[in-house]
Symmetry: C2
Subunit: 318 residues, 2 copies
């Protein structure tokens, strides 16, 4: 038993803000610890509850995540908020399970070529790391308080090295991750190759595989399909969606390309589809001030922030 | 009998480039006639066949469309290409039916408030203008060569003045336009209020109303929903979609907001959904040079132009 039902209630859509992790992955200049705290506090006040905030890696390799312990504490101090961070290796899973982070993210590549090139390990070894993470999480905390393990499958909709990825192969890996003890599996369109029909097909497969468990989807807007893919994922049963404020987070394989699906536009989409995310759009849009001033060289995307909500329609139903 | 089946073959998706009309509607500086000709010629070479190129209005009111006769001639010289232009009043429909334009667009507002404020006529009078346009088009050319009338319903998904618009009211107006002699009805999300579920619902209604006739959808990306809405429209049976190169064309009611749905991203979307548009994406993206140099103050949008097609997946099926 883990805290999974508390973190991802089955009866609603959860939007995970990954801007503080994926959005900072490639940047040269990153926000101060104080600014990150402010970012989290203001998004929390706007209604955001799920924050992916970094990676358990040596600070020398990823200085933008050197303040991960402070970020975990910052999210931990907020009632009903959940922190999430990546653990990429043995040392990472030890640090993660010893920390107060609410959820541990492990990453698995959909293709052997990308697994070897990006992670320098086979997919089988990545599944093994998920297994050890899940086992360790069972050892370090009492039942009912265990940190859930979120297994993200990178390149699930196409690979920058191997090209086309068969949906059946992704579902096989998702099942392997669940069998290894992952609590949730998320599919990532890491390089923005997906279209909505492809997302719908794979999400229907995930819904069949996961049954009552929720599953996640992590979309990039590299080719402008982000919101269309999110809509298709919601229609096909996905209930955990990632996004980043202002679409922060580029694509390492397409310099200059747009990044993660824009969180604000995702909130608006959910509203049009009748999903109550509990997030105040105006307040969320105002938080863009922080990355805008802390990372002035990073473009912020998103149409909602330019146009505003349709005020003539009155306040949203949320 | 009109040329409608030739212009919009029922067995394929038609993408209409409205950048030369809607994209120039609000700009202060616009391309030279030579640059517009080049724009049309290069998009034609890329596979585009449908060009909305202006409005039959006095040149003093809309100098960007003063060269409409030259644009009609430019499109007319290209084998299998079709020109389209707006006729907004009695003088406009006389000029349009006397011209060689391939299709006449009449505009009808979904709400009485917007009809009065924007067109200074009632919706009933707008339907009457459609009736007179259709009648005149029957007089001036022999059967089989008649110019089709495309009736665009503005504010079909929400109105900047009246707010919410009932789908049943839009369908009633669509039926009135068809009864008045329109060959095609298109629904416009003029101010970008729509979400994909709303688009799907209204398009299903249109599919029921229109039967074997194709119907159109004109989307704006004002709140980032453009491609998601296009995907929903395609799923619900829409086969005529508008877009503009680089998303040109802002929103008069939301200054600084993004404009029409981006043509390049729309082409990519269609490809992911298995629709053959016959358009070469790389060649299309290259045409952005023209508005970029002719209208340097106008932002060009679109993710595909930044990231390029996923080359590792090989050439598209088209």
């Amino acid at each position: 038993m883990s805290r999974i039902d508390e973190i991802y209630p089955a009866d609603r859509v959860t939007l995970r803000e990954v801007g503080l992790r994926d959005g900072l992955q490639l940047v040269k200049r990153f926000p101060s610890t104080a600014a990150k705290r402010d970012w989290i506090a203001r998004e929390y006040a706007a209604g955001v509850r799920h924050f992916e905030i970094g990676s358990f890696l040596p600070a020398a390799r990823m200085p933008q995540f050197a303040d991960l312990p402070e970020m975990i504490a910052a999210v931990g101090a907020l009632d009903g908020a959940f922190s999430s961070a990546l653990a990429m290796n043995e040392r990472g899973i030890n640090d993660a399970t010893a920390s107060a982070v609410d959820e541990i993210v492990c990453v698995l590549s959909a293709t052997e070529a990308h697994a070897q090139a990006n992670m320098r390990r086979s997919r089988a070894d990545a599944v093994d790391l998920i297994r050890r993470t899940a086992a360790l999480s069972r050892q370090v905390r009492p039942a009912g308080e265990r940190q859930p393990v979120y297994a993200g499958i990178a390149m699930a909709f196409g690979c920058s090295i191997a090209g086309t990825v068969a949906p059946a192969e992704v579902l096989r890996l998702a099942e392997a991750a669940l069998d290894a003890g992952a609590d949730v599996v998320g599919l990532a369109d890491t390089v923005g190759f997906a279209g909505p029909d492809q997302v719908a097909e794979l999400c229907r497969g995930m819904a069949g595989l996961c049954g009552d468990r929720p599953f996640g989807i992590h979309l990039h807007d590299t080719r402008g399909m982000g919101i269309a893919n999110a809509s298709a994922a919601l229609d096909a049963g996905a209930r955990i969606l990632d996004g980043s404020l202002g679409g922060l987070g580029g694509c390492p394989f397409a310099p200059g390309a747009t990044g993660n699906v824009v969180f604000e536009d995702l909130v608006f989409l959910c509203g049009t589809k009748g999903f109550d995310t509990g997030i105040d759009l105006d307040a969320l849009v105002a938080v863009r001030e922080i990355p805008a001033s802390e990372m002035p060289d990073e473009p912020l995307y998103g149409a909602l922030a330019r146009a505003g909500r349709p005020r003539v329609l009155g306040p949203p139903a949320t």
